[in-house]
Amino acid sequence: MERVRLVDLFWFAGIATCIKLLLIPSYRSTDFEVHRHWLALTSSLPLSHWYSDETSPWTLDYPPLFAYFEQFLSFFAHFIDPKIVDLHEGLNYTADSVIYFQRLSVIVSDLCLYYGVYRLSRNLGFWRRKMLLVLILWSPALFIVDHMHFQYNGFLLGVLLISLSFLEEEKDLMGGFVFAILLCSKHLFAVAAPVYFVYLLRHYCGGGFVKGCGRFLMMGVAVGMVFIVAFGPFLYYGQIQQVISRMFPFGRGLCHAYWAPNFWVFYIILDKVIAFMLRKLGFNIKAPLASFTGGLVGDSSPFAVLPQVTPLVTAISVVVAMSPCLIKAWKEPRREHITRWIAYAYTCGFLFGWHVHEKASLHFVIPLAVVAVQSMEDAQHFFLLSIVSCYSMFPLLFEAKEYPIKVLLLLLHSLLMWAGFTSHFSKVKASKTSVLTRKQGEIKESRQGKYSDTAKEGVVVVGWVGMSYLLGLLVVELWGVILQPYILGDSLPFLPLMLVSIYCSLGIMYSWLWQVKWIIKYT
């Protein structure tokens, strides 16, 4: 049995690796140069200068453990081509060696993701296990973000999944320890820290005051060790202030140049609408100095009418939005719900957070895949969510060359989900109804026929509302690609992206509401 599981994992990972290899020549964003620069930075400068160097505008803004990871990689990079890790000569270096090295480093670091998925799926039945492999290993969003756009999300999400798998197995200490590692690798994952804290406090540190205190201390030591290893050297060199300021650049503004599909999109739109109406009514409303479509935002308020949103406001709204699951985790910390709660916390962080990237939707879509194979309702929710989330990443790839790739990736993903979910849940449903009919043995045959018919038709992965919403995505896409250039020409160049943001944020909001409802009702 163990062998079968490994063979399955190997097979799915192998197919994914082939696709990743084929993606090597595709488009790469500036993040590629960012990570190359970090290789050079960590390899050629002493640790005390990592967070203060300004050779390139792409300064190091990940926590220290990730910098150590880059230093580890830079060792091999130096071996392959010393120019890659040259701080000055290597700037904007685009030889084959650096492209292959960095692309392959992402592909290899995905082993961490495979291990996480393996841990999570090894005790599941055969359908769930394979479906999980399809949903995570063949996730189109991961292909787009990691293997085209270029980042190490698969690696980091792998760490998150490993942590979740420990929690699900009630190995809380390891779970907390691994999560601390994740936090020190990419601090954007800190959004779920409150949930972790409450859950571990209630679940791990229970059982009497003394025992609880002892366990609390142990957890504190484990997590503290990770933080000391990560931040200790910088503390020693007196760099800690610098590290923190680099990691939290609040000057960047509420929204990214391309608005992530979250709650603040509605807020901005509402502001614009109100300002427009007031102007019509004769009020003198000044246009805001900073604009959202112009990219970086300075200190001035970008809102015409509504109050300014500060980082504090976003932080408070995230915690408030998260509170249902915090309360639930406090009241009844049960390990079978932890993945759902963590995913929910990341959803809140995405919807209400400060300067959110569209890529951050991976943080909850990937863990939700683990939940999606549990029941039909979860599957239905996930089907819609993962399509919307992947579609919201389409603007990352704007060149014509990659257009068919992103469309086909999403199409294939939707087809696989649809085929997998319907075939499984229709069988489950059919078995239930057949058991039902067998119990009521007296029922006529015609009735039985009817039953099995309804069982076949009864499985709907997506209802008509969801379906029309998804078709709406198609309309938005057609507008952006074909209709807008014909009708409007070059005017309003930001409109297609804005439409994508607004439309996708509807879907993400729906997912958030669905998750809240589920958490309040069932956990």
Partner: protein, 516 residues
């Protein structure tokens, strides 16, 4: 698999019969759609890579040839396509495929002209290279592939499945994946840049038509294939033998043959219509199609003539005229048994073997063969994959290996590795038991030899990429590749010939039994 076992096994975790194609229990439609979309995705990914002759003036490569044909067909009248005129210089990539290719180029040139007129402008576009032009050209291959090859493959698999009866749905999906994800075809069409998918797709359609007993349609489709690439002639003996054999069993053989002949002649007339106004113009086109001046072999192709030239210098010892005769006789001798077998006892399975044998005979023995011609034997081998999985794997591997130097020149090593890996993974996907039993690697000395050969090839792969050949023998590694591949091809063709004749005996025995 699970669906067939009924309701009792719906509980999860009964892992025994797990298979990867579990997704596709629902129906053929979704499984075919998934596989097709995946195959399309792989093609799109390969098409990002450089094409043959990219950035290599003054002649560039096959990409420039195809683009040039679009330029010529768009800007000159039909009658001058094959003629040397002021605007059509035949020494620069003159059209040397039959008229259907020219029509296809014309249709695609309209598409290019609409979106990017510069890339097909007369004279000025020679050696045109731009990212938009590349994208559009790649799109024309992709669309032809979907329209012709994909639809023919799906049609074939459905028919093959209904004919066989015994095999499961997973086998069917696997069969389709094997046909669509053949690394050689993908690399040549979407990497190197050619339109083999059209002629092979038409041939595949003809095979499917024969399987569904529509012989007239088959004749028309195969004539179209012949008119797209004259290389489709490799399959002609099989078609001829099979159809003739079937006609002879008909109530009225003569009428049947006449009907088929009329369809073939009609199709040819239709396609050659613009050139039928004079004998001269027909000869003009024909002379373009038969490049005898090129010599008996080119580069290092893994066929009989090129391989044996290590020992016997054919080109030096004999005139082209006598070599032509030799190659003709050798090819005929090699393909005759399989053709005769089909005339004697035509059967669907035997027909596929005959296609394999006749195309292999041409590949090994005919005049002026190119490395890329290995695609032709690969098509029937991929159709036979449920019968001969190991043969197909072995042939694909060595077929791909024989094109390795060519693909290296085209800078397609990365997709070469990725597609080979993908092929092996899909081939070994844990599918239904029925086929996996056949697919098991043979034991004993056979396995030993195979392992040894695999080791050799992997070493040569590395050597070819890393080492420089000695100055005295600049083509040493190519010759080694050629030798290895040719030896394998000869073994395979001997095996398939024997197999085809055994088929004859077994069906003959069955017939006798029926008579008794």
């Amino acid at each position: 698999m699970k669906k067939r076992r009924g309701k009792t096994d719906i509980k999860e975790g009964d892992g025994e019969d797990d298979d990867v194609w579990w997704l596709f229990q629902r129906g053929r439609f979704s499984s075919f759609l998934c596989i097709s979309v995946f195959a399309l995705l792989v093609r799109v990914l390969v098409s990002m890579n450089p094409y043959s002759g990219a950035g290599d003036p003054p002649k560039y490569g096959d990409y420039e040839a195809q683009r040039h044909w679009m330029e010529i067909t768009l800007n000159t009248p039909v009658r001058e396509w094959y003629r040397n005129t002021t605007s059509n210089n035949l020494s620069y990539w003159g059209l040397d495929y039959p008229p259907l290719t020219a029509y296809q180029s014309y249709a695609h040139s309209l598409f290019l002209d609409f979106f990017h007129p510069d890339s097909v402008a007369l004279f000025t576009s020679r050696g045109h290279e731009s990212s938009l032009g590349k994208l559009l050209m790649r799109l024309t291959v992709l669309s032809s592939d979907i329209l012709i090859f994909f639809s023919a493959a799906i049609y074939f698999v459905i028919l093959n499945y209904s004919n066989r009866g015994g095999s499961s749905k997973e086998d069917m999906a696997w069969n389709l994946a094997m046909i669509l994800l053949n690394p050689c075809l993908i690399l040549i069409d979407h990497g190197h840049f050619q339109y083999n998918c059209i002629s092979l797709g038409l041939t595949l359609g003809a095979v499917a038509a024969i399987f569904s007993k529509h012989e007239l349609v088959a004749c028309a489709l195969f004539s179209l294939a012949l008119n797209h690439k004259q290389m489709s002639l490799y399959f002609a003996p099989a078609f001829f033998g099979h159809l003739l054999g079937k006609c002879l069993r008909h109530q009225n053989p003569f009428l049947r043959v006449t009907k088929l002949g009329l369809v073939v002649i009609g199709t040819f007339l239709l396609i050659w219509w613009p050139y039928l106004y004079s004998v001269n113009s027909v000869l003009e086109v024909l002379s373009r199609l038969a490049p005898f001046e090129r010599g008996i072999y080119e580069d290092y192709v893994a066929n009989f003539w090129c391989t044996s030239s290590i020992l016997i210098k054919w080109k030096r010892l004999f005139t082209t005229q006598s070599l032509k005769l030799f190659s003709f006789v050798a090819t005929m001798v090699a393909l005759l048994p399989s053709m005769v077998q089909q005339i004697k006892a035509p059967s669907d399975k035997g027909f596929l073997y005959a296609m394999l044998n006749s195309s292999f005979s041409f590949y090994l023995f005919s005049f002026q063969v190119h490395e890329k011609s290995i695609l032709l034997p690969l098509l029937p081998a991929s159709l036979l994959v449920l019968e001969e999985p190991l043969l197909f794997k072995w042939l694909t591997y060595f077929g791909l290996f024989s094109m390795f130097p060519l693909l290296c020149r085209d800078q397609l090593i990365l997709p070469y590795i990725a597609l080979l890996l993908l092929f092996v993974l899909i081939y070994h996907s844990p599918t239904a038991k029925l086929v996996s039993r056949h697919r098991d690697i043979p034991g004993g000395w056979k396995a030993l030899i195979m392992a040894f050969l695999l080791l050799c090839t992997s070493i040569i792969h590395v050597i070819y990429l890393v080492l420089k050949p000695p100055n005295k023998y600049p083509y040493l590694f190519e010759a080694m590749i050629m030798l290895l591949c040719c030896s394998q091809f000869v073994v395979l063709v001997a095996y398939t010939n024997i197999k085809q004749w055994k088929l004859n005996i077994s069906t003959g025995i069955e017939n006798e039994k029926k008579v008794q």
